[in-house]
């Protein structure tokens, strides 16, 4: 039993191996990304079936790469122990519903990343499409066409980008703000806490809907304001009204995470290991980040995942009402509003059916995944 282990040397070797691994991984990732950007595109490959196949192979290569990367990393860092990532993954797979959710989320992500390649038709509107308006599903248009003549299937593909960009974008920003403020507020308490808390209360009691609607409404009809914001947002590749929605969702989103984090900080900061760190003389900021922030990460990820679902749903609702994406942006919500006008005629049911299914499945995916992550992190044995 008494084999003298030189921990310092072990750590150094680990560090060296890790660095080597990261460098190799970065190189491979770079190559793969270049391949994607230069080689795999609509222009290069005309045949849709062939495109799909190539995208599939590409994704497979990525999967193998990541799998290898993980295995090697695990060998370096967790050689004989059961590591928490494995346990987490195991628990997640055990949960059938969550696995389905994960599958859906990954599929939508792939759809969004490869939308131009998976879609049947390009995103540039062609004038002669007008002749093909409102055609029911057929071989050329598996989901039919909309009133402008665009192919619904392709629109749905591009729409996935809107949903995911908005969802992930909003939640990431919200998380950063929420965690930062939550940690500060929770840790320092007192006056700082009261002020920030007051702000959040005001935000939370404000009628969200109005703000968005009025913002968008104001923007729409005010020419100068419109110009400037449209320029700014096209530089980001987004339509202006959607940008307003994005901002509004961000402003109203962070109180949720803030409260969660703040509550956790309160309970964690009283725990013994924080006191221990203080006794050893760790600096305040290091305590803040290393001990406290790391521990709030788990539940925050859960809230974020569920938050993405919420953002996607809200954006769809707003676009449906006409206060979000405009005619040029294929948001699923906007597609649904068109479907709504035709809902009483069964012939055109497909207009409402397909975007709705896409929206529903995506939201379902994120909610089940979020729940699954929550159960996997904190398994209070629901046998």
């Amino acid at each position: 039993m008494s084999e003298i282990v030189d921990f310092k040397k072990l750590e150094e070797t680990k560090k060296k191996l890790n660095r080597k691994l990261y460098a190799q991984a970065a190189l491979v990732a770079l190559v793969l990304i270049l391949v994607r950007m230069l080689l795999i595109s609509r222009d290069n490959i005309d045949n849709w079936g062939l495109r799909l196949a190539i995208v599939g192979v590409y994704i497979l290569i990525w999967y193998l790469f990541l799998d290898q990367l993980y295995k090697r990393w695990r060998d370096i860092n967790y050689k004989d122990e059961r590591n928490p990532i494995d346990r987490f993954v195991h628990r997640l797979y055990h949960n059938k519903l969550a696995t389905v959710g994960l599958f859906i989320v990954l599929s939508v992500a792939i759809l969004a990343l490869f939308a131009p390649e998976i879609a049947l038709y390009g995103s540039e509107y062609q004038a002669d499409w007008k002749d093909y308006a409102l055609m029911p599903p057929s071989r050329e248009h598996p989901f039919g066409t909309v009133s402008s003549g665009e192919d619904l299937f392709s629109l749905i593909c591009y729409g996935s980008q809107i949903s995911l960009v908005l969802g992930i974008g909003v939640e990431v920003i919200v998380a950063v703000i929420g965690i930062a403020l939550g940690v500060i507020s929770g840790y320092y308490g007192g006056a700082i806490d009261k002020i920030i808390h007051y702000f959040t209360d005001v935000i939370m009691s404000f009628p969200f809907l109005i703000l968005v609607i009025v913002l968008v409404g104001a923007l729409r009809a005010n020419p100068d304001l419109n110009e400037r914001i449209i320029d700014f947002s096209s530089s980001l590749g987004m339509d202006a009204h959607l940008l307003m929605v994005f901002l509004a969702l961000t402003v109203f989103g962070w109180p949720g995470i803030f409260r969660q984090v703040r509550g956790q900080v309160f309970s964690i900061k009283e725990r013994d290991y924080v006191a221990a760190a203080k006794v050893v003389g760790a600096s305040r900021s290091s305590i803040l980040f290393r001990h406290i922030a790391i521990n709030t990460l788990g539940p925050v990820i859960v809230v974020m995942t569920l938050g993405i679902a919420g953002v996607i749903l809200t954006e769809a609702g707003l676009s449906f009402l006409g206060f979000g994406a405009d005619i040029t942006t294929p948001s699923w919500g906007r597609l649904l509003s068109e479907g709504n006008s035709f809902v009483t005629q069964s012939k055109y049911l497909y207009l409402a059916l397909f975007p709705g299914i896409a929206l529903f499945l995506t939201i379902l995916g994120f909610t089940t995944l979020g729940d699954g992550i929550r159960d996997a992190i904190d398994p209070r044995l629901k046998l």
């Binding site: 628990r91 398994p379 044995l381 046998l383």
Partner: protein, 351 residues
Amino acid sequence: MKDKEILMEVKDLVTRFYTEDGVVKALEGVSFTLYKGETLALVGETGCGKSVTALSILRLLPISGKTLKGEVLFYDEETKARLKYNEKGPIPVLTLEPQDMLKLRGFGMSLITQDPMTSLNPVYTVGDQLMEVIKLHKKLPDNETKKLALKLLEDVELTPPEEIFNKYPHQLSGGQRQRIVISISLAAEPALIFADEPTTALDVTIQARVLELMQELKEEFQTSLILITHNLGIVAETSDRVGVMYAGRVVEVADKYTLFNRPLHPYTQGLIAAVPVITEKREELSYIPGTVPNLIHPPTGCRFHPRCPYATDICKEKIPELKAVETDDHFVECWNIDAVIKDLAEKGGAC
């Protein structure tokens, strides 16, 4: 010991928990006998199965637990009458119908749980929770019920009883809450009370008083007590007989004095030896080498064999049985008991 009446016999209880990490073999054949009017202490380290034993007998295991085998024979006449059990002989507790089990609980056997901070329902008054038991098992007119409740509160030294009666659990201290739990367990005057580490969560200053109180009440209400604890001091103070548990089995049973003066099972010996004695001069604390076994993958045969200085081949293969040794009420389970006794004789008798 012939004029002691048997109240309960427990034979070969096997209980398992089905968890995500595997099957926990918590009880692997627990057996002991309880006599009327006595305090039997069940001692052992955390995780050895003492609480699980109580829950198995009361059939209050959580969903993941199942008692697979065993017999529990309960000889109380009053309970038999209540259950309208007409057969001769004891009540077979483990095979009772659910409705009968409901009559048994509270009336025949009751439970004192460990942590007073969480054992009472926070949304109902203490008085309400006490009256529940009374109403369930005693058919009394309403005002009599309340009078009895108030009397019980006085018995556990909670005064003034009217005030306490209307309070909510969060308005009372830990010691007060534990007294409430005790009063609840006594309310229907059961023949047997399981006390699961009743004082572990209390302040030291209160522990002594609560223990004393339990002793007094036990005498007054003529109840038998199974006291579950890991504290040998409490065992010495309050018990009549002691059962030592290790990893899901009862390894030794004896009366208190015999156990402390002449422990025969190697585990018990290690346990008693580990208690530091202030009046003796010692250089090092003595301890039992090794660690408590993993109950999902327990050792084969006698579960103590990896840590036992007397272990031989047969210990790895078969679990020994509890047998009377030296006197007819000192029970030990060990294959090599003769070697142990020989050793003791050589070392000069007591530990």
